[in-house]
């Protein structure tokens, strides 16, 4: 944030250099751990439901059997295996998060880039719309939109409700990227190298996409990781609000919400899916924290 403060130890002294190197190595390890968590979970989400002999809707044993060797995560009130259900649900959650964040980041960033080349009045309109969207409490926007788009099967082949959640998350998530890229692009635009490019006669599109755009990628990626943390928690909570994926398809938040009443009798059907959401979130948080601009500077 503030650049006012310099390092207290003069840069270049061996001590400062070692401290800095130690810090960067640590951050690199942290980022790697985050990445490994996400990759391992993603793999498990894909493999487990396919490889397992039972499907997520099979009634395999007595209802509410506690975790055992046979059913690692126990069974739910219908006797369905929670292990298989959790991993099948995770695939939907992770897929939703990745697709929505990527769409919001790319769309928002492009809008910000274009806005940088609009006349001031156009820029102001975009800024105010950005502010207004950000002023909507995230959840109100998502509930409203998800309810409006409802359980209609917007895209065939996807579980009912998935497209609605995705669209709602994109609409709620794009503004910070626009704000971020617009402000950075306006600063970059005045750089000597960009002015030189303009003097060379490069068109605005070329300058935007091959000179300014690439310089913004790290900022956008870092913010996307940060937002993934919040979105993971949000997607995992939507079912509590009565919106979300329609029941035959398992989803982590939905598993938590539908089993909350059973909490005094059986903790596993609701807590275990929640812990998976937590691990997903921690993975993103580790990646976000170690790529944040402050730490990599």
């Amino acid at each position: 944030m503030t650049d006012i403060v310099g390092p207290s130890i003069p840069a270049g002294t061996p001590q400062a250099a070692t401290a800095r190197r130690g810090h960067t190595v640590y951050l690199r390890v942290e980022r790697l751990v985050g990445l490994v968590i996400e990759a391992a979970l993603a793999l498990a989400f894909i493999i487990v439901p396919v490889a397992s002999p039972i499907s997520s809707s099979d009634i395999t044993s007595l209802p509410l059997a506690p975790p055992s060797a046979e059913h690692l995560f126990g069974t739910d009130q219908l006797g369905r295996d929670i292990f298989v259900r959790t991993f099948e649900a995770g695939r939907i959650d992770l897929g939703l998060i990745l697709v929505s964040i990527a769409a919001a980041a790319v769309g928002g960033a492009l809008l910000g880039l274009f806005a940088a080349y609009l006349p001031p009045i156009g820029r102001m309109v975009i800024s105010r719309v950005t502010d207004a969207t950000m002023a909507f409490p995230y959840i109100v926007l998502v509930i409203g939109l998800a309810a409006a788009l409802g359980n209609r099967e917007l895209i065939s082949g996807l579980p009912r409700g998935a497209a609605a959640i995705s669209i709602a998350v994109v609409i709620a998530c794009w503004p910070p990227y626009t704000r971020l890229t617009l402000s950075r692009a306006l600063v970059l635009r005045e750089r000597d190298s960009i002015i030189a490019a303009r003097v060379l006669g490069y068109g605005p599109m070329r300058i935007l996409f091959s000179h300014i755009g690439p310089a913004l990628v790290p900022t956008v990626v870092s913010y996307a990781a940060t937002q993934a943390v919040a979105t993971t928690a949000l997607v995992g909570s939507l079912a509590f609000l009565g919106v979300g994926i329609a029941p035959p398809t398992p989803e982590l938040g939905q598993m938590m919400a539908e089993n909350i009443a059973l909490l005094p009798v059986a903790w596993w059907p609701s807590i275990i899916p929640g812990v998976v959401v937590l691990i997903l979130g921690v993975g993103f948080a580790l990646m976000a924290d170690s790529t944040s601009e402050r730490n990599t500077r």
């Binding site: 207290s8 002023a135 409490p137 995230y138 919040a230 928690a233 509590f240 609000l241 009565g242 924290d289």
Partner: protein, 333 residues
């Protein structure tokens, strides 16, 4: 104004001191008005174009009510008029301070429905802010001042956990341990009066604080680390000032700005988190009012809740921005 995102060259000050003060307050104020108006307009048209027909829902969906009855109900609700006319009606009502009546329960005004829910939600948000500020500032200053980097790192990793934990999971675990296991607080519900209701708010507020505390903590930790490296802080340490005194006297006041800013930025997420946690604990707040209204397509109630929560977020943001500009003149942009 804030479109001028270009940072002005260092040291260049435009205008007199007084006019800068006016700009510091006027800019955010105008912006807040514009944004609130936008929220109102966007909500109105989005709801009416995206959501279905409330008349059908009110009459009872698929029971095969005659088209005449549905049409009559639409007229009664004012939904048969063209959209611009409906909007004008709504806007004139708002100017007179009238949010309209609920479609679902025509006897209830939207204002009264919101007031009931908002009381609960604001109490929850307030208690959360109190807990999170105390814990976040305390832990943040401690992490910055401690001589053991291990403690600093433990606090950092724990704060990551808090950030990543979904409110619903924290709620479930707290219900399981503190309410069902320990019997410390009720697992959910709501009472009749205030001293009694307080016990229903404690666990929900702690739940939301699990997320807000790390946010404040990290802002404090970052600023405190910076301040501790400034020459004046090193000079004070060299003079033999104790770490505790240095932190409390010189570092803590410097953290007020970042804390205000980060709270301002997090408000909309804070309200969102509160809404989810409310539902986990079954509190009769804005969240429940909102889900009921969305379920029954109660347009006036949805509009009212969105407008109110939007306005609150905007106004608090504005206050945070003005406050941080006045506290720290460097933030003038």
């Amino acid at each position: 104004m804030s479109t001028a995102v270009l940072p002005s060259p260092a040291g260049r000050r435009i205008g007199t001191r007084a006019s800068r003060r006016v700009a510091a307050i006027g800019g955010p104020f105008l912006q807040a008005i514009v944004v609130t108006l936008l929220v109102m307009v966007i909500t109105f048209f989005l709801i009416r174009t995206l959501l279905g027909d409330p008349a059908v829902v009110l009459i009872g969906g698929n029971t095969g009510a005659s088209p005449e009855r549905i049409a009559a109900l639409r007229t009664q609700l004012g939904l048969d008029k063209p959209l611009p006319v409906q909007f004008l009606d709504y806007a004139t009502g708002l100017l007179q301070g009238n949010l309209g009546n609920s479609f679902q329960h025509p006897a209830n005004t939207v204002a009264s429905i919101i007031a009931n829910g908002a009381g609960v939600t604001f109490a929850l948000v307030g208690l959360t802010l109190l807990i999170s500020c105390l814990a976040g500032i305390g832990l943040g200053l401690f992490a910055a001042g401690t001589n053991w980097p291990v403690l600093d790192n433990i606090i950092r990793v724990l704060s990551l956990l808090g950030l990543a934990a979904p409110g619903a999971l924290v709620g479930l675990v707290l219900i399981l341990t503190a309410a069902l296991g320990g019997g410390l607080f009720p697992a959910g519900g709501w009472g009749n009066g205030y001293p009694e209701n307080f016990q229903y708010l404690v666990l929900p507020a702690i739940t939301v604080s699990f997320w807000l505390t790390p946010i404040i903590l990290r802002a404090v930790r970052e600023r405190a680390g910076d301040v501790l490296q400034e020459p004046f802080a090193e000079a004070a340490a060299a003079r033999g000032m104790s770490m505790t005194r240095l932190i409390l006297r010189h570092v803590a006041p410097n953290c007020a700005g970042p804390v205000l800013t980060i709270i301002g930025v997090s408000l909309s997420y804070l309200v969102s988190g509160a809404v989810i946690v409310e539902i986990v604990y079954g509190l009769p707040g804005i969240g429940r009012a909102m889900t009921t209204a969305v379920g029954s397509l109660d347009f006036p109630v949805i509009q009212g809740i969105v407008l109110l929560t939007g306005a609150v977020v905007v106004v608090l943001n504005m206050i945070a921005e003005i406050a941080s500009r006045i506290i720290d003149p460097r933030v003038g942009r």
